[in-house]
């Protein structure tokens, strides 16, 4: 991520220290993760100590300090999805992407995560890819759904 883009985001929020989390969220959204150089820039421009930024960036799960894929796959393994076969969905997705939950593939295409409930248990088993919900999945349907992402 280039520093100009980081500066743009910081300027948009008036370089206010109080906008720290908004700035970090926006960098995360643009770049899918928070690189060290970007955090150093934020610390410098917002006049917030690096230790504080690190505390916040590690506290919230919305932030990542390692590169994430272009597409974020969240597989629900909550109780309802579990009894409806979420384990098999997860197995299939692990096979299809070659990564385990919490990992990102080498091409930075997919990041796989498990979540504990997405709040739409009637649609179980459910996964969300880049914010789009795929419900009532079969293992085959889940693997198919991933194929439409580049």
């Amino acid at each position: 991520m280039d520093i100009q883009k980081v500066d743009q985001i910081i300027d948009k929020h008036g370089a206010e220290a109080s906008a720290l989390i908004q700035v970090l969220l926006e960098i995360q959204r643009e770049n899918h993760w928070l690189p060290q150089e970007a955090l150093a820039r934020v610390a410098e421009r917002l006049r917030v100590p690096a230790s504080r930024i690190r505390h916040i960036a590690t506290f919230y799960k919305a932030f990542s300090l390692v590169p994430k894929g272009r597409h974020e796959v969240h597989v629900c393994v909550g109780t309802a999805c579990h009894v409806r076969g979420a384990t098999r969905i997860l197995d299939t997705l692990q096979d299809a992407t070659g990564i385990l939950p919490g990992e990102t593939d080498a091409e930075l295409k997919f990041s796989l995560e498990t979540v504990n409930c997405l709040g739409c248990c009637a649609l179980g088993p459910v996964m969300v890819v880049d914010g789009k919900t795929h419900g009532k999945l079969s293992p085959a349907a889940a693997a198919d759904a991933l194929k439409s992402y580049e």
């Binding site: 060290q36 100590p49 690096a50 230790s51 504080r52 690190r54 505390h55 590690t58 506290f59 799960k61 990542s64 300090l65 390692v66 393994v77 939950p101 919490g102 990992e103 995560e113 498990t114 979540v115 504990n116």
Partner: protein, 204 residues
């Protein structure tokens, strides 16, 4: 600022408004145990060892003495069966993390806390935040901070800052209520193995 009169363990105490219960008690020589308290630092309320009973208009509450401001007519009890029981449990929980801390074991003896009540999970850090807050509030270097949260929360030095500042300071080491060596270890670890990625979570 006007003065407030309150009662601590049967003594009438007069202190300025805005004083904490802990400071008021100590001003008349009543000892309240603390672990995360430091005179130079803002009250934190992290360790909960300073819990006292505070009674106001007939209602009794349990409050952390180090953060609770004095109120007129407040009746404070710093020792009671209930308070001792709470401090004992708090100490037993803390001892699970730092079973060999001298400070903790002294307090444990006083309150009859057992070291083995909870399964030991010796991280040596009880999250009192003394090192973190001292570095931020007194030294204003922000070389050490907390990372992560919940059961994975721990202290870590920022390598870039620590490499420049810490060698000449190290004042946080002796503040640690559990182990002088622990802070030293974390400092060395942060300098020798700056954490690039491992702070990222791998579980769901």
């Amino acid at each position: 600022m006007s003065d407030v009169v309150l009662h601590i363990d049967g003594k009438d105490v007069t202190v300025p408004e805005g004083t904490t219960v802990l400071e008021a008690a100590r001003s008349v020589g009543i000892a309240v145990p603390t672990l995360c308290h430091h005179e130079k630092l803002a009250p934190y309320g992290g360790c909960r060892v300073c819990m006292v009973e505070a009674e106001l208009r007939g209602a009794t509450r349990l409050v952390a003495a180090c953060t609770h401001p004095v109120e007129p007519e407040l009746v404070v009890r710093t020792r009671s069966e209930k308070i001792d029981r709470i401090r004992r449990s708090v100490l037993e929980l803390l001892l699970a993390h730092a079973p060999d801390s001298t400070r903790l074991r002294e307090l444990a003896r006083e309150y009859g806390a057992r070291r083995d009540r909870f399964e030991p999970d010796a991280s040596f850090c009880i999250h009192c935040g003394l090192c973190v807050r001292y570095c931020a509030e007194v030294k204003r270097k922000f070389a050490v901070g907390f990372v992560d949260r919940g059961i994975r929360k721990e202290i870590a030095f920022v390598p870039e800052i620590a490499a420049k500042e810490c060698n000449a300071c190290k004042e946080c080491f002796e503040l640690c209520p559990t182990s002088y060596l622990q802070a030293a270890f974390v400092l060395v670890e942060s300098l020798a193995f700056p954490r690039p990625a491992e702070t990222d979570r791998t579980e769901g």
